[in-house]
């Protein structure tokens, strides 16, 4: 019988004052008892509304039921039937707007903490499982996957499980894509990503780093090399800037650069050779998850004051509620309804201040959100020594430039149908390269769909 009496089990976490000064994981994870308590809240509904809310359709009531039976490894196996990266998704998925938003328990009280339970199962598996995945028997077909971010890893994993010979081509020196260069250690420890990549390698996936497809090899050359299909999961790409004066001053970063220096190039470690500015007063422009990551990283690197500068109101912040909450707990200042108009430099062209205007919300725009409009005469300056632009990205132009017949949107995104098929036969694409900046789980969902479609296309050749 479901336990209707206990409230949703809180996630244990590091104290905000302590964690604001270290890069260790913020949320420390459920204990076994916490997992059992939380799992007991699940109604095990027959119509499983939560499953519809999951982009990869994990059989959620089933895995939670396994937890209540204390069959934690079995619970993990249920999740991994649908998801290649449970330990990652349990940490970074926006569950509150997906599975948990459909949970029946959420109508009267709070939804079951599905994400936290997923993480518990994945961590349990990683700690206790000694059995290595084995390479399935080969079906003799070769598929190339470009990019080792969430979408590429998922596509590769699903195909490898079906017996395909999969090679992942990664441009950077470490596999993982945004999971490694973008999402900080305190939100997703890199050891977890490494483990997920190793699992794929155990399944027989060949991961080649330092391979910039479009330069070292083109998609046509991959096809000539015997790859029967190609999946493009090359990710988001070039950072956008606001085109306001002062954006090339010293001390202005794109969030991608700031996070890449910190995470991939390990500037957060004391003995790192990667230079990064140790700024005192930092402004992060933007309101998404990446902005939260950049702001919280800047704080941990020693900044005294970090502000999020966002042109709409708090209700419109695109970041996950949990990330906003964590950022506030740590002391990040939220300057909402504020828009930068200029970055002011000193005599050495280093950032000195950020000039902003106040905004108010007008009529709804194309996105359905109320359009922010400038309040007349509201201009003001905030002293700053570092500004991080986190206002999105536009797709990397390399593959488009070097692949004939690959149709793209005017803004650069690759055009693909529901299965991920592009304008080129046997060339599929998904994730941020198609949608523009989105979430890890949506990218995974696209990788999963494409893997299924690639399988059908090759089998019917």
């Amino acid at each position: 019988m479901p336990n209707m009496k206990i409230p949703r089990t809180d996630m244990p976490q590091q104290d905000p004052a302590v964690r604001a000064k270290n890069f260790l994981e913020v949320a420390t994870g459920y204990t076994m008892q916490m997992a059992l308590d939380e799992a007991s809240r699940c109604l095990n509904c027959k119509h499983k509304p939560c499953v519809d809310g999951c982009p990869v359709n994990i059989d959620i009531p089933n895995f939670i039921h396994m937890i209540t039976q204390e069959k934690f490894e079995d619970a993990y196996q249920v999740i991994s039937e649908s998801s290649s990266l449970p330990a990652v998704c349990g940490r970074v998925c926006p569950q509150e707007s997906q599975c948990e938003s459909k949970c029946v328990r959420g109508i009267k009280t709070e939804p079951v903490a599905i994400g936290r339970l997923e993480r518990f199962c994945a961590d349990y598996h990683n700690e206790n499982n000694t059995e290595k995945a084995t390479k399935p028997e080969s079906n003799g077909h070769k598929v190339a996957v470009i990019g080792s971010g969430p979408s590429g890893l998922t596509c590769a994993g699903d195909l490898a499980k079906k017996g395909y010979e999969v090679t992942i081509f990664e441009a950077l020196h470490t596999p993982g894509g945004v999971l490694v260069y973008g999402i900080p250690e305190f939100r997703l420890p890199k050891a977890i990503v490494r483990k997920e990549v190793e699992n794929l390698q155990d399944l027989g996936v060949d991961v080649q780093t330092n391979m910039v497809i479009g330069r070292v090899l083109s998609i046509d050359e991959l096809m000539d090399m015997g790859y029967e299909a190609v999946y493009i999961g090359s990710g988001a790409g070039l950072p956008r800037f606001m085109n306001i004066p002062g954006e090339n001053l010293n001390g202005v970063y794109s969030a991608n650069e700031f996070l890449t220096r910190t995470n991939l190039m390990k500037a957060y470690k004391d003995n790192s050779t990667t230079p990064i500015m140790k700024a005192k007063r930092v402004a992060v422009v933007g309101g998404g998850n990446v902005a939260m990551d950049a702001a919280r990283s800047a704080l941990r690197l020693g900044a005294e004051e970090v502000s999020i500068v966002y042109r709409r109101s708090e209700a419109e912040l695109p970041a996950r509620a949990e990330e906003v909450h964590h950022a506030k707990e740590e002391g990040i200042i939220f300057r909402t309804l504020t828009n930068p108009t200029e970055i002011i430099g000193d005599e050495n062209d280093a950032v000195k201040a950020l000039r902003c205007v106040e905004m108010e919300l007008g009529e709804p725009d194309a996105s359905g959100r109320r359009r922010p409009v400038v309040k007349e005469g509201s201009e003001f300056e905030i002293p700053m020594d570092c500004v991080i632009m986190s206002i999105g990205t536009s797709p990397n132009p390399l593959i488009k430039q070097t692949t004939e017949g690959l149709d793209t949107q005017t803004w650069g995104g690759i055009i693909a149908d529901d299965d991920g098929l592009t304008s080129r036969p046997f060339v599929y694409a998904g994730g941020d390269a198609v949608t523009g900046a989105a979430t890890v789980i949506l990218a995974m969902g696209a990788g999963k769909k494409a893997a299924a479609a690639i399988d059908v296309a090759i089998q019917n050749k």
């Binding site: 441009a171 950077l172 020196h173 260069y181 780093t209 330092n210 391979m211 910039v212 330069r215 070292v216 090899l217 990710g235 988001a236 790409g237 070039l238 950072p239 800037f241 085109n243 954006e247 090339n248 010293n250 001390g251 970063y253 794109s254 991608n256 650069e257 890449t260 220096r261 991939l264 190039m265 390990k266 003995n271 790192s272 050779t273 990667t274 230079p275 500015m277 050495n348 062209d349 990397n396 132009p397 390399l398």
Partner: protein, 280 residues
């Protein structure tokens, strides 16, 4: 891991290495660059392709010892392996349709100017090369340039070798002698390229400058290598590294290049101290 096939000291601060990287060698063109990491904790540094041998599968790099990473790289020897070697990156130099070109190189930038000089010369283009160095001891690739140029001018700041003066003096003289160039290609220190571009603008000669800003991923992801060209923000790694020299905001690029100077100086000194300890 990528094997160092050969190593040659060109002058006290400049070293040439030939790296085994068959896939990169197969595609590399003059004007493109690679990114390398010496070891697992190293930084990613961009270096322009100095030469390539498609059959041997090797790419040649020439680097000046300016910071911790290049200092460390210089301790590697023939037969050693470096951790990462990615490329070819950036767009190749545009060479089509050119009939008469002046290539102006300065210092270690000559290492980058040489492959395009060679390519143009081999294509049958009339090539005038002007190379400049601070002093005689720092001269590199003299014979290589000589053998691939119709006119060759070597300048030193102190007059210890070749002619005394700046590359701009020699270039202006060539122009005044009546040479009409389709294009000037300039590669070297920012301040030199700035003045080369200023000069060619006066004479209305299209000029391409090869930029080497601070980079991290080099694949079009971080935006660290951005510069202003004709009032627009451009990314050297995917839009360049070569741009219309008359439109580049050199002053901004010079200031952006200084951003980590203190950090780099400190890291360099530390790496020198480490080396000293190893020797002791």
């Amino acid at each position: 891991m990528y094997k160092i096939v050969s190593k040659q000291v060109l002058n006290p601060t400049v070293t040439k290495m030939e790296i085994e990287a068959p896939l990169v060698a197969k595609k590399a063109e003059p004007g493109q660059f690679i990114i390398l990491r010496t070891d697992e904790n190293g930084e990613r540094i961009p270096l322009t392709v100095a030469d390539y041998d498609r059959e041997k599968g090797t790419v040649t790099i020439i680097f000046q010892i300016v910071g911790a990473t290049t200092n460390h790289l210089n301790t590697f020897n023939e037969g050693d392996y470096i951790q990462d070697f990615v490329g070819p990156l950036g767009r190749p130099t545009h060479t089509e349709g050119l009939k008469k070109v002046a290539v102006v190189g300065g210092g270690v930038g000559c290492a980058i100017a040489y492959p395009v000089t060679k390519k143009l010369y081999d294509m049958g283009v009339e090539v005038h090369s002007v190379v400049g160095f601070r002093t005689k001891d720092l001269v590199i690739l003299e014979d290589e340039f000589k053998n691939h140029s119709n006119v060759f001018k070597l300048m030193t700041d102190d007059g210890s070798y070749g002619e005394k003066g700046l590359v701009t003096n020699a270039l202006e003289q060539l122009i005044k002698e009546g040479n009409q160039y389709d294009e000037v290609i300039t590669i070297g220190p920012l301040i030199m390229m700035k003045f080369v571009c200023k000069l060619t603008k006066e004479y209305n000669i299209p000029t391409v400058a090869s930029m080497n800003p601070i980079m991290i991923d080099g694949t079009g992801m971080c935006g660290g290598c951005r510069l202003t060209v004709g009032g627009e923000t451009k990314f050297a790694c995917v839009d360049g590294p070569e741009f219309d020299g008359h439109k580049i905001d050199f002053d901004e690029a010079i200031k952006r290049g200084q951003m980590y100077k203190e950090f780099e100086k400190h890291a360099y000194e530390e790496s020198c101290n480490l080396l000293k300890k190893e020797v002791e």
